[in-house]
């Protein structure tokens, strides 16, 4: 019987999803929050980056549902923990080659002694165990098969897209009380409110790419294999969760402290303000990388001295990831705290807050009812803006060995191990390229998205353009 397992980060991920859902429900009814969001979705860049991000999020969420496939078995295997993503990509995960093989290759990347049927040995590139194993004659059939599989993948993608598009148009036409054809025409000519056409094109591109990759991955290693023969595409997909976690959990961890302290400093002023300012100036004056390095070093010592506390390597790596998020949060909350303090300082002088004070409303109620709702946009902008920087920081930190656990799949770890591959002759470029490409796409989408969000929520900027 499969048994669900909840890692600490999984719980926080689902907490985050719940929070986002609550926020959406909350924002729907409040025009000052929902109007900017409508602006975000009415920009073409905004909606296409959201769709790209959505694909990442789905992969990340699938990778956050962990289970033990065989909980009753008591042997070593039962410790192994899988996620839904592992399940969906079982072929990629299990089809392990011997060592390096190039993207879509049918043969290994290094020569080996191969024993011939007649007893002699020759030195050649051996066939892969799985990649292109269905071909009888790889030399002649290869390009035809590759073409055929690509076309199949593209067609599957288009079919899925068509189904999704029809459902979307049907829902829209029901909502707008229009006939299906009218709605379709509006979308084709460019909807004035929400650019559904752009959204559909982006969706088409993503679905075709995904379906093609998936179809090809059934027969080949699309992005090659690494030193121990693991599929690089699988690794890159698994790394998505780590990247997303670092980008989101860090802000989730720091938010309570930043919001509470920032508003308290600005609202109460006096010695509370002095104390909080002193705290964040002190923390801020420690160089971020060094603080992280020091904290991670200390955690390594703690973990090596308390090995018994961690049931498995996975849990240990998970704790390290969570700790990294926390320490990144410690180094990054000061900026938001300072912004919120300034805003709260300004708000607490406004007439309606003064009036509430005069009426004898308690501090707690004033903060909750009058200050907090008016700083939500600052929090939102900061969260979205910080995301891409954190994803990039993860790679750098992992390179310095103060990032995630070496056993965790992450783009930083992939790049780190790829450094030695670049020095090989001939070079092994696919691991590095794959990780950089996946990271680039995520960060680019996040950057474009955050630009749109900032423009929509920051009235000061809006008036200028």
């Amino acid at each position: 019987m499969p048994e669900l397992v909840f890692l600490w980060t999984d719980i926080l991920v689902f907490l985050l999803v719940a929070l986002v859902t609550v926020f959406i429900l909350y924002a729907r009814k409040r025009p000052h929050l929902s109007r900017p969001w409508r602006m975000v979705f009415s920009s073409r860049i905004g909606i296409s980056s959201v769709i790209v991000l959505l694909f990442y999020v789905v992969v990340g969420l699938m990778d956050s549902v962990h289970y033990r496939p065989d909980a009753d078995a008591s042997d070593e295997k039962s410790v192994e923990m899988l996620s839904l993503l592992d399940f969906a990509l079982s072929d990629m995960r299990l089809q392990q080659e011997k060592t390096y093989s190039a993207p879509l290759a049918t043969h290994l990347y290094t020569k080996e002694n191969i024993e011939q049927p007649d007893g002699t040995t020759i030195r050649d590139y051996p066939r892969l165990k799985y990649g292109g194993a269905h071909l009888d004659d790889p030399v002649n059939d290869y390009s035809r098969d590759l073409f055929k599989q690509t076309i199949t993948g593209v067609s599957i993608g288009i079919v899925i897209w068509a189904v999704v598009a029809v459902i979307l148009v049907a829902i829209l036409s029901l909502n707008n009380h229009q006939s299906f054809n009218d709605q379709l025409r509006i979308i084709m000519h460019g909807d004035p409110v929400i650019p559904w056409r752009t959204a559909l094109w982006t969706l088409l591109a993503m679905l075709v790419l995904l379906a093609t990759l998936y179809n090809l991955s059934q027969y080949y290693h699309v992005l090659g294999t690494d030193k121990v023969g693991e599929d690089v595409l699988y690794q890159a997909l698994k790394s998505i969760r780590t990247g997303l976690l670092i980008g989101t959990l860090t802000t989730l961890v720091m938010l309570p402290a930043a919001i509470l302290l920032g508003i308290m400093a600005g609202y109460f002023k006096g010695w509370v303000d002095d104390l909080i300012q002193y705290t964040y100036t002190t923390l801020n004056s420690i160089p971020g990388v060094l603080l992280i390095a020091a904290a991670i070093l200390m955690m390594q010592i703690y973990m090596s001295n308390h090995e018994a506390d961690f049931a498995s390597l996975v849990e240990r790596a998970d704790m390290r990831l969570l700790f990294l998020c926390m320490i990144l949060g410690v180094t990054s909350w000061t900026g938001l705290c300072r912004l919120l303090r300034g805003e709260a300082l300004k708000l607490s002088e406004l007439d309606y807050v003064q009036a509430s004070t005069a009426f004898g409303v308690g501090h707690f109620t004033i903060i909750l009812k009058h200050i907090l709702p008016n700083v939500v946009h600052i929090v939102l902008i900061t969260v979205v803006l910080d995301f891409s920087g954190l994803v990039l920081a993860e790679a750098v930190l992992s390179y310095v060995n103060i990032g995630v656990d070496p056993s965790t799949n992450s783009w930083g770890n992939m790049i780190n191990s790829a450094r030695l591959e670049m020095a090989r002759e001939p070079i092994v470029w696919w691991s590095l390229t794959a990780s950089l490409f996946f990271m680039f796409t995520l960060v680019l989408a996040a950057n474009l998205f955050s630009d749109v969000v900032r423009d929509a929520f920051d009235p000061r900027l809006r008036s200028q353009s």
């Binding site: 420690i286 703690y302 001295n305 680019l444 200028q464």
Partner: protein
């Protein structure tokens, strides 16, 4: 003015004390020196004697805060906190695990760091301001839109890519410069040129976009409208009025990072094998040399606070409206 500077310097003392207490608790309270010794010695050599001698070598055998075995002031001075943390205030960093004087190492290694950081800063400023002015001049045209798109794309590429790609193209394919290494004197140029170029390219995206925002902010102000109304040419408006006023935030933004240039860049230096403070820190992290990490944390904080004070002072020079009191 002088009174202000003195006040700021005095205000720095509690902050540095806070940094010290924070690092002290991080290094010695969260994990006892025994834990560190055990980690350092590895699983095989852990005997109580080995731990004691490891601690004695580094002066970690003393009590943390109060030494009950001593009399008078020595009760407080003969402790880890006083020896290891308070001594940082007089820049007495002590010795590293390999027995070298940390202050001497830092004074030697800051020069290669500066040799990279200063050219990167200056060339980067020049390049970014040029691009930003160009984009601001052609604002709201396709040059502007595509320029910003290019900036966002360049921002989204990991810094590691610039370094690995640059090393691969310039050193491995074209054999223009050595991949890594360092020499003293003018021979260092061939080792420095690639990291400097990569550093500049890596900063173009974020820098240009930021400066563009600053320029556009100025362009929308009233005095620019006046200048335009009296018939000045767009170039003159841009260079004589907008540029000068936008320099204020640019300059003060540069001043705040000036002192931190000493710290060097962790990634660049370790990739290019340059013996600066950045690679010094990375080596210390990898060797788990706590004395060095502690010293660098303190040094970094000092430099950061210096940067903040310098920024405030520089405001009075570039903007006569600002008076410090």
């Amino acid at each position: 003015m002088i009174a202000y500077i003195i006040r700021r310097l005095l205000y720095a003392i509690p902050i540095l004390l806070g940094v010290n207490i924070f690092t002290f608790s991080l290094f010695f309270v969260v994990n006892s020196p025994d834990d560190m010794a055990r980690m350092h010695l590895g699983d095989k050599h852990v005997t109580p004697e080995a731990i004691e001698s490891w601690k004695a070598d580094r002066g970690y055998e003393k009590p943390l805060l109060v030494n009950a075995g001593q009399q008078g002031m020595a009760r407080f001075t003969d402790t880890i906190f006083f020896q290891k943390s308070v001594n940082l205030f007089i820049f007495n960093f002590g010795q590293s695990d390999s027995g070298r004087d940390i202050l001497y190492d830092i004074s030697q290694r800051m020069w290669p760091s500066l040799a990279i950081a200063i050219p990167v800063l200056l060339v980067g400023l020049l390049v970014n301001i040029t691009f930003a002015l160009l984009i601001a001049f052609f604002r709201a045209t396709y040059i502007d839109i595509w320029g910003v798109v290019l900036c966002v794309i360049m921002m989204s590429i990991s810094g590691l890519f610039y370094i690995i790609g640059g090393q691969f193209v310039a050193s491995k394919l074209l054999h223009l410069v050595p991949i890594s290494g360092y020499e003293t004197g003018f021979a260092a140029i061939k080792f420095l040129i690639l990291p400097v170029i990569i550093g500049v390219i890596g900063g173009i995206g974020a820098g240009t976009r930021w400066y563009r925002t600053l320029f556009l902010e100025e362009i929308n102000k009233d005095y620019v409208r006046t200048a335009r109304a009296k018939g000045l040419a767009e170039q003159i408006i841009l260079f004589r009025h907008v540029f000068k006023n936008a320099l204020i935030p640019i300059l003060t933004g540069v001043v705040v990072i000036l002192p931190l240039l000493f710290m060097g860049s962790l990634i660049t230096e370790s990739f290019f094998g340059i013996p600066g403070l950045g690679s010094y820190t990375i080596d210390a992290i990898n060797n788990q040399d706590f004395a060095i990490v502690r010293a660098m944390v303190f040094l970094g904080s000092v430099l950061y606070i210096t940067g903040l004070i310098l920024t405030d002072i520089s405001y009075t020079f570039v903007d006569p409206r600002v008076r410090l009191s």
